[in-house]
């Protein structure tokens, strides 16, 4: 099977409108910490979802389970058609190639310039050089950094660095973007700009899942909000204020 044409059914996944589905999911770490308790949630294609909650509420575990960095103890998880419970370790890279990740701390490689940092995500998936040369400038232009391709990360502001991170997440055209507190290290104006960009990306059909502590962003951008507390979903507000 080639790396590009993965048959999702072979991994036990379902190929429908659902992007993320948690059914009765619980996760307890080896030290006894109950991180998630009986979580049930469905996120559909094209949704923009904020995940909020205090420290220790289970947000990180929720994200780790989606990325299959951790495995649930009970219940089933489906992400982009992959059944994570049945999935073998060697297939995890295939899952990850269907998502783009934006980190709070940007995670740019300091010795690489902006172009190479974005191109890195394409090289990892084996994209040919010609495609890299074509797609990277497009991704940089989409985040407003078309003129910064040759700059080094330390020459950029925090907001610009996060936009490079966003371009890197976008460059492989993922079906899902996971943003882990992407506004945590940038000023309020830049925070709005980044969420605006994510909203624009979402409007083109990409599902976005964003963890945040910034209530003003949640209030101002009218998207679905999932609130976690003590490992449980305590609220799930659909856009427009309806609660599920």
């Amino acid at each position: 099977m080639s790396e590009k044409t993965v048959d999702l059914q072979s991994f036990g996944g379902e190929n429908n409108n659902t992007v993320i589905e948690f059914k009765d999911v619980s996760k307890t770490y080896q030290n006894g910490t109950h991180a998630l308790n009986d979580v049930n949630i469905t996120i559909n294609k094209g949704e923009f979802v904020f995940v909020v909650g205090s420290s220790g509420a289970g947000k990180s575990t929720f994200m780790k389970l989606i990325m299959r960095e951790e495995k649930a103890n009970t219940g089933s998880i489906t992400v982009n058609g992959f059944n994570l419970r049945k999935m073998k370790r060697k297939h995890i890279p295939m899952l990850r190639r269907t998502m783009g990740i934006v980190f709070q701390d940007f995670r740019l490689i300091p010795k690489m310039n902006v172009f190479d940092n974005v191109a890195f995500a394409m090289r990892v998936v084996g994209a040919p050089s010609r495609q890299i040369r074509r797609e990277v400038p497009k991704a940089l232009a989409a985040v407003g950094l078309g003129d910064k391709a040759r700059s080094m990360p330390n020459e950029l502001s925090g907001g610009e660095q996060q936009r490079v991170g966003l371009a890197r997440a976008l460059v492989n055209n993922p079906a899902l973007i996971i943003a882990d507190e992407p506004t945590g290290n940038v000023d309020p104006n830049m925070s709005y700009e980044i969420v605006s960009m994510l909203t624009a990306i979402n409007k083109q059909g990409t599902t976005v899942l964003m963890v945040t502590h910034d209530h003003s962003l949640v209030r101002d951008f009218k998207h679905r909000v999932i609130m976690l507390d003590d490992g449980k979903i305590v609220a799930d507000n659909l856009p427009g204020g309806d609660e599920e």
């Binding site: 060697k90 995670r107 490689i109 890195f120 995500a121």
Partner: protein, 350 residues
């Protein structure tokens, strides 16, 4: 994996080696020391084997024959034993008793009567398993050899002895063995052949040489094995340090969907590169050290009986490359494997 990816990853491996050049140089230094030590162990062992082999070749066995001279010099009882069967037969058939010659020796007193019988005996010995070659040395030739080898300047005295008492040496089979570790068993087989009297050998020496050669082989193996393990640990350590310095890159790689082999390849390239560079330096350094050492030894001992470096150069280089590459590949695969399975975190803060 695509060719473009492989090219990119190989380039990354080269870049990493250069980026971590201080660590790479330190590893190369220690690896070179290990490889030179391995090379020296091989060279010393090979030279010792050569020297022992030469000694071994000189260690021939002389199987003396029961011929007329033997009958003349040995005790009467021995002669009777040799001729007992024949005498008994003659008595039974009632033939006339054989008349002894002027020295009182009858034809039935000894086994080997002429050169043909002596050569037939040599052929019998030659057919034994562990015998490499057999040469017939007549009593006269034996005496000439002794005069030539040991009695320089006193030949006249021995000519006198020879004339007065005759040649005291019996004919002998000069036997060379294939494997000196089977020395005793072969000796016993030769002794059992009819017509063989006594065997003159340096059995102890032969077995000691054989044991020494075996010991050298075992010691060489363990020295190489231990140094190889040290090499492996050194390369692994370098790779581990490089890996931790590239933790960020690895976490991004894994987050965007890199396979384990994609993460591994640059480290494997780095390991191989360190191994290869070390092999080249080791070969050069060992050549220089060996040349200086052999020139001094040859000048001091006045011998040229020593292995030339060029005879082993290719084998040693091959050995160094194998050590370097194996250490590089195994070291990097183990280290990165451990990291990817246990410590590599894609999402958690670094």
């Amino acid at each position: 994996m695509k060719l473009s990816s492989l090219r990119y990853l190989t380039k990354e491996g080269f870049k990493n080696t250069w980026a971590n050049r201080l660590m790479s140089v330190a590893s190369i230094g220690v690896l070179v020391a290990c490889m030179v030590a391995i090379g020296l162990a091989v060279l010393i062992s090979e030279n010792a084997k050569l020297a022992l082999g030469n000694l071994e070749k000189q260690n021939v066995v002389m199987a003396y024959m029961k011929d007329y001279t033997w009958a003349f010099y040995s005790d009467k009882e021995d002669n009777e034993q040799a001729g007992n069967a024949e005498n008994a037969e003659q008595t039974e058939t009632g033939d006339d008793a054989e008349q002894p010659d002027e020295n009182g020796i009858k034809s039935s007193d000894y086994v080997i009567h002429n050169e043909e019988e002596a050569k037939a005996l040599c052929d019998k010995i030659a057919k034994l398993d562990n015998v490499e070659s057999v040469e017939y040395i007549s009593g006269e030739e034996g005496l000439e050899d002794i005069k030539k080898d040991f009695l320089k300047g006193q030949e006249e005295y021995f000519t006198f002895l020879d004339e007065k008492y005759g040649n005291p040496l019996s004919g002998a089979a000069k036997v060379t063995m294939k494997d000196m570790s089977l020395f005793s068993a072969t000796l016993q087989k030769i002794e059992k052949i009819e017509g063989v009297d006594k065997i003159q050998s340096y059995g102890d020496l032969a077995e000691k040489i054989s044991a020494l050669k075996k010991g050298l082989g075992i010691a060489g193996f363990w020295i190489i094995a231990i140094l190889m393990i040290i090499s492996l640990v050194i390369v692994s350590n370098t790779i581990r340090i490089t890996m931790y310095s590239r933790k960020l890159e690895i976490s991004i790689m894994k987050a965007v969907g890199a396979t384990d082999s994609f993460v591994r390849i640059p480290f494997i390239v780095e390991g191989i590169l360190i191994g290869l560079i070390s092999a080249i330096f080791s070969e050069g350094l060992l050549y220089f050290c060996y040349r200086v050492a052999t020139e001094t030894i040859c000048a001091t001992l006045g011998t040229n009986d020593i292995i030339k470096y060029s005879d082993l150069a290719l084998n040693l280089f091959g050995l160094f490359v194998i050590i370097g590459v194996v250490a590089g590949v195994i070291g990097s695969i183990t280290m990165i494997g451990k990291y990817l399975h246990k410590e590599g975190s894609e999402f958690a803060a670094i």
